[in-house]
Symmetry: D2
Subunit: 363 residues, 4 copies
């Protein structure tokens, strides 16, 4: 079984391997009348694309997106939108030694065990290259959310070094190659990454995502909870091992009163939740506060130091991964995080309209 | 929109409110020929049921389950299995003051905002009483997994006090009211809970779940990843704010080599992963290691100390929750955790058989 | 694999066997604020229930429905609605000879072959008794459609005797036991059925369903077409072998101009389609005309004359079905037809609102 | 809402407009290890492609298919297979007069009413050009069914002229441009079509599809019935107004004994159903007989004679459709019918394996 679609009513189906001729996606359920163009989507792809600075993989892909359907005169028609991105800078020769050798930490063994066959070139389908499609689809989702909801993500920890929370400035994120909201941490992370490279190793990261302007009422009781759908969406990003919402794991250590807080009234006589710890979701449904989410990305599994492993013939071997890899794959997860948040919220926004005429029409 | 089903091919649909006449579920997609009886399912419900000791709510429910369909002569027929549990010890009078008042930390405001109506009696549909159905369905799922896969869960932290890892013994969990695997921590938790009660507050918790015997090959690439489905299943349990698999958030701080480890060969010449940090899942697919997962439960939102809140008429008021509540709702999440793990794995086990004849037949 | 749910966003899950303790369903996705009561749903169940006159099975079931969830003070809350109907007049002894013998024309062999086990008592899960749940769920769906859309069905052929089209009067349907819109045909059908009974045989039927007031815009392009969803819903009713919409099979014989007709403007300057042959659906989407559908029900497979068949041990045997059976099961399909039409339209009405604020709000 | 996927576990998502740059599909859930190539799929596309003889549209499309993912060394990898077909011979100028004018019988009005926008060029998304994707996906499905199940379709009626049943020869279908199994009817149909053209009109058709070798046990009880899924798949083909299985509408006129027949034992002591009228499906599950299905295609809606219609400004106008159209669109539905049958059966074959190890492994 292979499952390559997600979303309940806004459905994204992605396809393509890292070293195949192209990758792409079909975004179905997009409302008509959105303004959409290749240039607009490209803006977001350019944020994710590899090879732009020395802290990411040196594979150079233009990641030029083509819209093949569903858009007429820069306007969505309500029909499925097919997006295509060609693969250009593939160096499959880098991967020849992987045809029968499993990289620990990668999906090599599990794909082979499940399917009895795998495309070893550049990780095939399990490559993070697939996330370009998520970013492109996320750009469409943002148009569904606009102007109601805005989404931002930031890298808040690399390795064991977190940012200094008191320096947090969203505006800083676009000023450095790390999406770091704290300028004082940037030079330290540069050193950390250089050191990891020198040690032929790699680093993990923690990313934080915030959605502002989410109206109350998105989500569903019991099994279509907004937080459950977000958890699946983020845990499903390559290399992610943990997801938390609001206080997250810290919630275990808070006392009940601190966690729940109070409901006050703001200056417009609207509900005001005094505690931020719910992360904007109560009982699986948005409460109108900012939605806050954090997730952890493991250190890049492809590292150049020699490690013991086995082949598909179950023979021992040693492998030093070649190829061009991100020293900290978490850095490039930032635009992906924004895209996944946009996609889940847009899906629930459309769903919510089905039953509730009060949900603002955004597009 | 209301979404009350989950699972891809093994589908559970639950229904019922805390103070309605009954709660129940329909479990569809259960293979034929499983041995199933009311007594068998009852064993698991008895583990979750309230009122059994002083550290949980004093609501007394027998939680007697009836099988209404899908089982003939203690054998599943492949048809949908309908389970029904009557509500008996409802004290809706305890909740009269909640008809128009929102409890902070609960789903009161969000349900009302989404639906314009809510069943305020005992939390209605958002009550954790719904989880009895998950436990009952989970008992069926275990029969699908048997004898291949076994599942256990333990409480590893209450409030800010974790267990001592070096004392961890699975066999201890059933010997104390906390599912605590470390006997030295039990008396300390008793004190902590008594203190929280005295302070009219409540405590959060962290639970750990382990599945042993999972064959490699469960899960799916990209959007039906086993870890993504687990993340949704656990984040969707009432009061859960965080989920992590394997090293989880700690993965951010590990270096690449420690995280990935090596692949060796065991004494049967089978793959042996040296690192436990993946938690048994690589690229969304099980690798044959134990699957390990942790999640955090926030402190019970219903606390007896007076807190400021508002009514559905947007008027300020003060509320001290009455009713019978768990001082640490995380305690009762342990059997629910085992059930959710069983349901997700059984679903993927059946799915995996569709494409891969090598997946062992368990039932 | 067992699939017991249908609907895209309004989801009905049914369960129960003909001779089990009860049958029932869970209806999920019902909007809040509908007026609903057991008495209201009962009205529709009473139209379908057996034993009311001599032309249907003499099994006597009150078919008393209980609402177990999702309704508070006769108002839907948006939560899943669980309905339960007890089985009372089961005579499983009538079916003892069927434990190992397959009735030709029934699902006995196919269920046994698929599951290796079947509940032979009264047809188990494959019994048309399941349709009581559809009628109950359909009653809920009608409240979603009200006051916009009204649905009526009529029996237009029994055996090889069609009604006289020129006598068609909807108001006649409730005046005779056959839902026959043509009073002149009623006595002839009585004779036909008596004759079939005398011959130890049974008769088939054709039913016509019409939905009035359907707004344009329900349905979806390509794979969620309104007519495709209707075709599945009706072909999925027990014993149905054919479904047609508008001109149906006759469309093959029409010339293009007669089929398509013209689009004129009515007295309110609104589009008026001159041809009825599309049956109200063009390109999978409703066009505002009446939706018209016909389907054929095969003659009851349970007939009292001895027929050759085999056992599950693959031995030859002879079987004369005992038990209480409908001589023409098509008669009782009329209320089921109305229910299925209501369910499909309500599902698409809610779906349509998600993307199109112009869809009138009905509830 | 736009729904462009179908299938339960073998999922096909199509995209693309008639006059956009390309059309295509993603086929997800395809088992690994199937032999697949562009040449193989092309064989089936060539059967459907336009412009090959004078009885079909003169639009000339090579319909060259490219495989963009999911296939490595002519072998499926289990990953989603993306197929792309470029549109080359588009004459959008033929459609300029349709930008604001609705063609009766087409989806023009309904798409516009639902979405408020439509791609008028060549019918946009509602064009039968989309069916090229079905044929391509169907070619993949056939490899899943091979060598167990074979599928064939034939045209059995054009206009009001059916074939002579006693002349039926499958081998004749490929020898004439009509897929006609009766050579004596071929010259009569030629005359009929020429006459319709002369009259500036068009003709409908009836197609019959047969699947041989279907093992018993495909399908599901109640709502995933094989016949219900087939009904949706066929009613969802462009211009189809009716679907019947086995005896179909004729079942209404048969007596119970003739319909059901008997179950005998064949020379291998295996069940032998004496009646063909069930069409190979009982209770929604295949019984091992041939599956037989018929469907009706309405006459082409695009006809060159002037007809009255309206514009999107609700003004009256007259329209004589230009462009290159099939005089009898049913002719080209034959390869589509085979594809849809293959897709539904492959989906259910894979599903059946999930629960039943006895289902033969085909690939």
């Amino acid at each position: 079984m292979s499952i390559n679609s997600f979303g309940r009513i806004l459905r994204v189906t992605t396809w393509g391997e890292s070293h195949g001729p192209a990758i792409g996606c079909v975004v179905d359920g997009v409302p008509a009348h959105l303004t959409l163009s290749e240039d607009y989507i490209q803006t977001f792809l350019d944020q994710r694309k590899p090879g732009t600075h020395r802290f990411v993989t040196q594979r150079r892909e233009d990641d030029k997106v083509r819209i093949l359907s569903g858009v007429l005169n820069n306007t969505s028609t309500g029909m499925p939108i097919s997006l295509l991105i060609e693969n250009k800078d593939t160096k499959s020769s880098d991967y020849q030694n992987l045809e029968k050798t499993f990289r620990p930490g990668h999906a090599d063994y599990t794909y082979w065990k499940k399917y009895g066959i795998r495309d070893h070139r550049g990780g095939g389908r399990s490559s993070a290259r697939e996330t370009a499609c998520r970013v492109a689809a996320g750009a469409i989702a943002r148009q569904i959310l606009k102007p109601l909801i805005t989404i931002q993500a930031a890298l808040v920890q690399i390795g064991n070094r977190p940012i200094k929370r008191e320096h947090f400035q969203w505006s800083e994120c676009l000023k450095n190659p790390f999406w770091c909201p704290d300028p004082s941490t940037v030079p330290l992370w540069q050193e950390d990454i250089d050191k990891a490279r020198h040690n032929l190793s790699s680093l993990g990261a923690i990313i934080e995502v915030v959605a502002k302007g989410v109206p109350p009422g998105l989500g569903a009781p019991v099994y279509g909870k907004l937080d459950a759908d977000l958890a699946a969406a983020f845990m499903g990003i390559n290399a992610v091992k943990a997801v938390e919402i609001g206080a997250g794991f810290q919630a275990a250590s808070l006392d009940g009163h601190t966690m729940s807080g109070e409901i006050l009234l703001d200056e417009h006589n609207q509900p005001l939740f005094s505690s931020p710890h719910s992360g904007g979701i109560l009982g699986g449904i948005s409460n109108g506060q900012d939605i806050t989410l954090r997730f952890a990305v493991k250190p890049t599994s492809s590292i150049p130091q020699p490690i013991k492993t086995i082949t598909s013939e179950l023979e021992k071997t040693t492998l030093a991964t070649k190829g061009r890899h991100d020293p900290c794959v978490g850095i490039r997860a930032v635009p992906i995080a924004e895209a996944m948040m946009a996609l889940v919220l847009a899906d629930h926004l459309i769903l919510a309209r089905a039953h509730n005429a009060e949900i603002p029409k955004t597009s």
